[in-house]
Amino acid sequence: MNKDTKISLALTRVQFNWTERILELGILLISATTSVAILMIFVFVGRESMPVIFGKSQLDASQSIRSVEDLHKMSAKEIMTYLGLSKEEYNSLDKQSLRELMLLKIETARDASKDKDAFINAASLKYLFFPHQWTGYDKPVFIWQPVSEIRKFNIIPLIVGSLKISLIAILVSVPFAIASAILVSVLVHPKIKEVLKPLIELLAGIPSVVIGVFGLIVIANIVQSVTGCVFRLNSLTAGIALSFAVIPVIFSISEDALSSVPKSYIEAAYALGASRWKMAFQVVMPAAFPGVFAALMIGFGRAFGETMIVLMASGNASILSASILDPARTITATIAAELAETVFGDPHYSVLFFIGLLLFVFTFILNIAANLVMGHLRTRIEGKK
């Protein structure tokens, strides 16, 4: 009797402990951080690229030109944004120099407006994705030229550059990554696996700038002496350097997938007289295929999103070319190289955030797809519906 009451007392204590309830609510809220982070990345990168999405960016100077007489009507802040001056610069100038700057602005606008292209809002979706025949060109072209009198923001060369370099990286890394994953997961003794796996994954611990340095100096020389190419830094150099960063990613995920195949499959294969080769390629590989495929997708996402290696080793020329020996410029390298030079709110700034948003959405979709594929593997291995 006495014992019973004690137990029920203890149980009620568990049920009605308000501090615990509140702390547990705190745990729940904090664990939402990752989801909130994803959402906020989308919202805040998206917010900065709004002007591009809605075609609201002010590109052509002619629209917003004000007469010199307006000078005394404008507030200090207005003048600063209008002339693109910092606070210090503004304070150091007298009324006369401000007048001259305004005259200069009008003059430039007048010169620019002789070119019909000056009236085009190049930072709108139409000009970002589709070719346009700019003055002086004999056919519609895709050009990324954010710093020039007539600025051109066509992002197709960047997308092609990113795709080209990441495809090279994937093609180079897949044979090595998957073959070593097969070796480590099914062909060697578990004791050796325990040493080999972390050793290969150590490759992922090399900072990307260091791989970039290696690519810039060593791989570039090798590529040039083998192919005799004109440019040391080109898509092939960047692709090979990038594959060093992608190999551990593909290796790690596909090794996990291959290892998750039950031992009984392997034993059954041997029992049926399969050779090692047939066991690996006709039993384990097909069973783990969704996982290996997901590894490829995640590896591609990593290659597509890697910044420093391509920034250092790709040559960074935004030309539209299919040749792997031409320099290329990727989406990531463009953001990294140009964002620091842009002014907040400038069309160039918005376009860079917009391509960042594209990059985010692309890798997001790729990751979700890879997760679905991996879930498929899990249900297949566990034999559940």
Binding site: I30, S31, T34, V45, V213, L216, R276
Partner: protein, 315 residues
Amino acid sequence: MNHNKLPLQITKPWRDCESIIFTGLCFLATLVVLAILVVIVGYIAVNGWGHITWKFLTSPMTQDIFDASRTGVLSLAIGTAAKVILMTIAVVPVGAITAIYLSEYSSSKSIFTKVVRLAINNLAGVPAIVFGLFGVGFFIKTIGSTIDATFFSQSSGPVWGKPCLLWASFTLAVMTLPVVIVATEEALRSIPNSLREASYALGATKLETIFKVLLPISIPGLLTGSILAVSRAAGEVAPILFTGAAYYMAGLPKSLSDQFMDLGYQVYILATQSPNIEKTRALLFATSLVLLVLTLALNLVAILIRYRMRSQNKN
């Protein structure tokens, strides 16, 4: 007859020609992968070692950052250390608590858990440069500018609404969150249920069980995750390009709202913007070597802790 065939077939898998070639190729591929690791580390080490002196390691950066004979890595190392320490302070509590939720509270069927897991997987795959953009759009332009407008409206320039140490660290913390969560959750999940039951049987509440029984046991996992996060953050340059790294600054950062100099960023500058590549080559390799040794040492420590943890769990 069938009985005679069986032993033959069992010996066969290891001897046939196809299998030998196939195993050989796999072995060769693994060797190549390991060779990449050895060659990169070896190349940087051989070229950088000659320049590493006590003076190089303990001198601050000189005004001319390309002055190979006088400049040192001390300011860079301190900047990088400050960045990763702040990041660790931000990321570990959040990561550990998320791991606790996932391992101790969540049911795999609830939509909330599915969303959290999906977010973790996706966050791990977001490109580093996108975190940089997020840092600019959220920390600098939103939070920083709001703080400036509220508290520092008298000040001549932006205080928090500009790249600085704190925002760079927070940006890296968001990036490394999945690393900490995954490692800690693995450690929590590997704790046998009997320990939880024993704790409840002694009258402990769920929170007491988590904080006094489970968390102390999973410290190695939390440590592994934190070290891997630190290693990743120490070597990552893209997110801090516009959120805090400085090309050159005199002295060290004095407050969280100062910019800082960073090892990885300096490697990038030395490799791409040097006025005289030949003269700064030794400096470039020596700086890369310091960064490489730092990150690889952290990774090795993490591997050893994880190895010990796993073999203890097996026993």
